[in-house]
């Protein structure tokens, strides 16, 4: 795959299944926290390639989110540097995703392992569809 494209995820199944073939950045974090990591990466120059509210399983119902991101020049040069180079469309999408999260109560705490696996599978399938579209 292109070395400039990465998968940012908190989904352990996506990490497990995709890490050998793709550049996967995995964090074991709750949904709103992984979205904040994505936001910070955008401000460091990355571009979103997929929608951060992918899927109609609402925030709070699913604890998992995977996105495709394109490393921007800032990220490749001096990772972590904020400000210049932030893609305005990506900023808008991630901010609206964070706002949307606040509207939904977190119901995922009591999920059975099987339910969590199903939610991981759905998130994985959605990102695989995007990977197919991206031809990576």
């Amino acid at each position: 795959m292109s070395g400039d494209i990465m998968i940012v995820t908190n989904n352990p199944l996506a990490h497990e299944q995709l890490q050998d073939k793709y550049n996967v950045v995995y964090y074991e974090l709750p949904l709103n926290e992984i979205l904040k990591v994505m936001r910070d990466m955008i401000h460091a120059g990355c571009h979103l390639l997929t929608h951060p509210l992918s899927g109609s399983v609402k925030p709070g119902e699913t604890p998992y989110k995977s996105v495709l991101m394109l490393k921007g020049p800032k990220t490749q040069g001096s990772a972590g540097e904020k400000g210049a180079g932030a893609d305005s469309e990506s900023v808008k999408l991630i901010e609206s995703a964070l706002s949307a999260c606040e509207k939904f109560a977190d119901k995922s705490a009591g999920y059975a392992e099987k339910t969590l696996k199903d939610l991981q599978l759905i998130d994985l399938d959605l990102i695989k569809g995007a990977i197919a579209s991206a031809y990576i």
């Binding site: 929608h51 109609s56 119902e61 609206s96 705490a109 999920y111 579209s133």
Partner: protein
Amino acid sequence: MRLEMGHIYIKDIQFADSSKIENGVLYVSREEAAAVALEDEKIKNVVFDIAKPGESVRITPVKDVIEPRVKVSGRGGVFPGVLAKVDTVGSGTTYALKGMAVVTAGKIVGFQEGIIDMSGPGADYTPFSKTLNLVMVCEPQEGLEPHEYEAAVRFAGFRVAAYVGELARELTPDETKVYETCTIKEGLEKYPDLPRVAYVQMLQSQGLLHDTYVYGVDAKKILPTILSPTETMDGAIVSGNCVSACDKNPTYVHQNNPVVEDLFAQHGKTLNFVCQIITNENVYLADKMRSSDWTAKLCAMLDLDGAIVSQEGFGNPDTDLIMNCKKIEAEGVKTVIITDEYAGRDGKSQSLADADEAADAVITGGNANEVVILPKMDKVIGTLDYVNKIAGASEDTLRADGSLEVELQVITGATNETGFNKLSAR
């Protein structure tokens, strides 16, 4: 294209030794219907039940709702490219069993949504509390992956609906409605002074459990294209969508899309209903760009004056909706968009995940976060096991007295974004 829809009104459904329709009563042989459902070995078992309006019955989790049809003349068959061989539908004669539906229910994944209450306050929020429902609860073979099972239940529902529809082939319809579309040239000549309007339908197409099929093709793989609206009425679009119960379009909604119905009612009177444009709602942002570019381009090439755009689902599709709206308006074509809202339980939050000043004519299907109490029902078809896991439910969902405290999102069709719902503003 000219489509005659013959309506056969079903007044009751009963189980019997053999299946038939007589004097408006549908008699269903459980054995025969089960044999149709079990043609696919991925389904281990199926249980049929009947739910009637006014009964103390809750159906959950609902997957799809389908209107039984039979194609009696003209090209194609029922669900072309899915059950019948691929052929262009939308002309000839089709009979529809009105007042009833086939409902597929049962667990697909470990969390699931979709409630139809046949009575009580919940019934006021779903259009499918008003239909006589032949419900089929399927059980998968052990070890089947969710996507294989989703497809198996989807096809089983279509097969049973087609089996029931076939019983009407030799009947005489109670009512016949005729829908006729013009070619582009005919429309210009016949209605030179009427505004040219198209219906832009956005189809859910994000991936597993979020799919729609057009003549059997996964909608995420299509480029936006044009259809005669009679094709949609005749079963060209079917649902593979299992999530977002309140604002997904079950197959029944595609077959009876109220935007299509209402535009036909005005065709030749106040507007010229030029065509239907279908587009998708993909996850990959470049797909969104491509699809919205193409949709706007088609609107411009068709010399439209106006477009009505309907959405399906929440969040990610909000972005497609606004992209479509902005780009179509930029071509000089006026738009009206139909959506629903996730405005928080108090209704005070931002309703959509995206917005633009071009979206200055918006119709809402309602606030999906609104809380309702659904009283305990005497009978449950399906299972309540997953009710705590469905969209809009919480740990407190199942209360001590057996009632449910849920958001409108869990109710099938409650905030449908084609207007196929019961909510309205006062």
